[in-house]
């Protein structure tokens, strides 16, 4: 386990591989979060500009990112259309499947997200894990990972890549992690502190 703090302004090494957690991808694709956006965006710029560096992107993560962004846009569209409508109206889930996915807005949003991702394609490596072992896919290494987090962990492990995340759940793993999450970094630092030697008895 090795966690480094992005606040220390690390420079990516040439030809390094990274996995950006989905919560880090969201602000890069327009869904800003005041707390974290700029900091991870700065590191993303560095990675993109460092020769040979690649960010790994697997199909399951691409699906997760697209779904999260499109459902965000769908909720906005739902509100615009139905917030003042009283009486019968679809629920947001019915709206997404029944109306939004065939709308012009959906097509535009989908096209803009793909165009953004495509602009970074020189710095991306589309790939996937080789394992198809049920137990490996479903047995989570960390204490609080979910299926997708575990999948990203397996991807990083297989390619010897560093995970860039703000998610405090990525601890106690045998991979490198980069974060601006102070709590995650501090927990790591505390875990590697040498145990104090007992005081000599008088």
């Amino acid at each position: 386990m090795d966690i480094f703090y992005l606040q220390h302004n690390p420079v990516p090494k040439e030809k390094s591989l990274y996995v950006f957690d989905s919560n880090v991808w969201l602000p890069l694709l327009g869904l800003e979060s005041e707390e974290i956006s700029d900091r991870y965006s700065e590191f993303f710029s560095k990675v993109m500009k460092t020769p040979g560096c690649k960010i790994l992107l697997c199909p399951i993560q691409l699906s997760e990112i697209l779904n999260r962004l499109l459902r965000y846009h769908a909720k906005i569209a739902y509100d615009k259309k139905y917030s003042n409508v009283k009486g019968q109206k679809p629920n947001p889930s019915e709206f997404y499947k029944g109306e939004y996915r065939s709308s012009e807005d959906f097509k535009k949003k989908y096209a803009t997200i793909l165009d953004d991702i495509d602009q970074y394609s020189e710095g991306l490596k589309f790939c996937d894990i080789q394992t198809n072992d049920f137990a490996t896919l479903t047995t989570f290494k960390g204490s609080a990972l979910d299926f997708n987090d575990n999948y990203l962990y397996l991807l990083a492990k297989e390619y010897d890549a560093t995970i860039i995340t703000h998610d405090g759940d990525f601890h106690d793993l045998d991979i490198r992690v980069g974060t601006y999450n102070k709590k995650l970094y501090q927990a790591y630092k505390d875990s590697v502190k040498p145990i104090a030697a007992p005081k000599p008895q008088a």
Partner: protein, 111 residues
């Protein structure tokens, strides 16, 4: 006043956060506390532009100088060759304008 994105970036791609910040800084250099003259942001020779770039440039200008000033004085120009430019620009603006209204949706997306 005209500011050329291509001259600042020396590239046909306006894609990264740093690129957006470079444009933001260049605009800021040319104004004092308030914007008093029209500023045209010229995208001639730029082929691609990302949402990340727009958030780091126009988004920060909006946050600093406010919607009314930016709408009145700062205008993108010569962007017809850039795929989806206006869709991205309008989204950037809409997200800024409705920041608090969309907060719950953002939190859900991040959850």
């Amino acid at each position: 006043m005209k500011i050329s994105v291509h001259e600042i970036l020396k590239s046909q791609n306006a894609s990264l956060h740093d690129d957006g910040l470079a444009l933001y800084q260049e605009v800021k250099k040319n104004i004092s506390k308030q914007i008093e003259d029209e500023i045209t942001i010229d995208f001639t020779e730029i082929k691609r532009c990302s949402t990340l770039f727009l958030n780091a440039s126009f988004g920060k200008l909006l946050a600093e100088f406010g919607e009314d000033s930016v709408r009145k004085f700062i205008h993108p120009d010569s962007y017809a060759q850039i795929l989806n430019f206006m869709d991205k620009y309008n989204d950037m603006w809409d997200n800024f304008k409705n920041k608090s209204n969309y907060q719950a949706y953002r939190e859900e997306a991040y959850a």
